[in-house]
């Protein structure tokens, strides 16, 4: 069994929950691309932490890299999480509200 088949199998397993049609070549490759894009751009973005501290940057990159590899098919999970149901949307909106307020209040007074 080569690598591609393995990946297809993993994606099929992850997509079992939302039986949204069949798993085709195109959908597999786009899922793969999205996965790699997500992880690599997150890692590159984390390098910007060097402005705060170098050690923190190295630790954060390593932690995120290992976490991403362990939780590998991230994209199907993300897609399921960011779906169109109103409850999820309001939940994330309220969460974002809390984060924004806390960051502004705490961050501006302490940075």
């Amino acid at each position: 069994m080569n690598l591609y088949d393995l990946i297809v199998k993993r994606i099929k397993e992850a997509q079992k929950a939302d039986s949204d049609g069949l798993v085709t070549n195109v959908s597999t490759s786009s899922m793969l691309t999205a996965e790699i894009t997500l992880i690599s751009s997150l890692l590159v973005a984390l390098i910007m932490l060097r402005l705060v501290s170098n050690v923190l940057m190295i630790v954060a990159v390593l932690v995120v890299l290992f976490a991403a590899i362990l939780a590998m098919p991230l994209m199907p999970r993300l897609k399921r999480e960011l779906n169109d149901s109103l409850f999820n949307m309001t939940f994330y909106v309220v969460l974002a509200l809390a984060i924004v307020i806390v960051l502004f209040y705490w961050g501006s007074l302490n940075v």
Partner: protein, 501 residues
Amino acid sequence: MNLLIPLMVIVPIICALFLNLLHKKDRTIKAIAIILALTLPLLPILASYGIHYFGGYAPLAQNPTLSTGLPSLITGTVLNTFHPAITYAFQDAQKLFIFILGLVAFLAILVSLFETKRPSGVYGFMMFMGVASVIALLLTDDIFNFYVFFEIMALATVGIVLVSGVKGNYETALKYMILGSITSPLLLLGIALLLGVTGNVNITDIIASLKIGVVDPKNPVLLMACGLIVFGWLYGSGLPPFHTIKSAIYSKALPHGAALLQAFSVFTLIALGIIILRIFSYLPFSQMIILGVSLLAMILGITMALLQTDLKRMIGFLAVGELGYIGIGLGLGTAYGITAGLFQAINEVVITAFLFIGFGVIYYQTGESDIRKLGGMMVKTPLVALLVLLAGFAMAGVPPLNAFQSKLMLIQASIQAGLPELGVIMILLSIVTFMTFMKAFHAVYMRPKPADLEIKNEKIPRATILSLIVFLVVCLIFGLFPQLATGFLQAISSNLAGGMP
């Protein structure tokens, strides 16, 4: 006083009301609607720069006839410089923004007139109303007036979605309204806090009172206000966590409606982003938040676009992802970065409208937007396929089209600001954007045609082709002569980058 400045808002409102009065006579009403829509891009070209005071007068310091005889309690204090009216400022940046908005609105209305075959009615009303409110958002210097038109724009957005007749539009509109009703009062709360601290709703006056020390800039209430206004900004422009609902809204509107809706959200992003930068640029934290949210929007928007199977939803997510580029330009905070971000905003409005209307031809012909059921359209419409391909090149940033220039500027700006990582991410995501586009393009045009795909409307309206060509010309002009656009943006961005002492 310059009379054309208020007319820019009033004319679309009158158009909206007037077109609804006329009924039945299809041909004449179509002609009238086209002529009225043509005034939208023409008015900003004709108007000269200036400031208009609605229902009031200039500040006392500039108004000697009024200020004579007033007690020194008023003229001797900071009250002397405050604006007692709703102020509309029309400068060079606004000229460019409103011209582009007017152009996109004109073409979207033109296409809708020929594709929907119902020249008057709620759809046109909502389109004109939305355009009027977005023009007001760009012009206004009064933050409460901003809120009022923000709400009108949200209602117009809902209206455009409601009348589209796409399956599931009512559900999406209701979700959008529920989220909006949570968020807009919080934006109002932010404005209330700002008003409570500074006693003013005029942005210039708020900045002045922060600058001369009437108000302590490190007041925690102000920080809270900034947080709430940033939250409203996320909602208005569709950055995360609102990217799912915003892209759903685009996908449930008709293609020409979606072309207009994405212009609304991009210009809301610019208008409120400029306000946040003007008032709160002394907080380095506000720029960091803008950068972070924009990065998240880019990554989430573009990776989610890859996974979609609905054509309109895919472009909707791409549009949200492209918003991130604008946000990065604004968040960098340097004059060059802000110019690049605003330039990218203009390019994005044009390109995304181009893509929506271009792929909208498919929807018009087949009534289908699921890419798994489409295919083989290249044979039917080779010209449109070529134009759409060029639009995709423009979105990915291929020279000599316009987004190449603005993305290049953005990358240079991020390197100058000492954050080359942002440039790397932008290049990476541009490539993925192009791949997403090619996936859709291949599925729609190049694959063999499925047997059960039936074509309902054989003939493409000539107006659609015309508007696509106009978009292409605009892309080429801005791509070959970027200084045409950036020249208009220099003043505002050096102002914004100067910031507060």
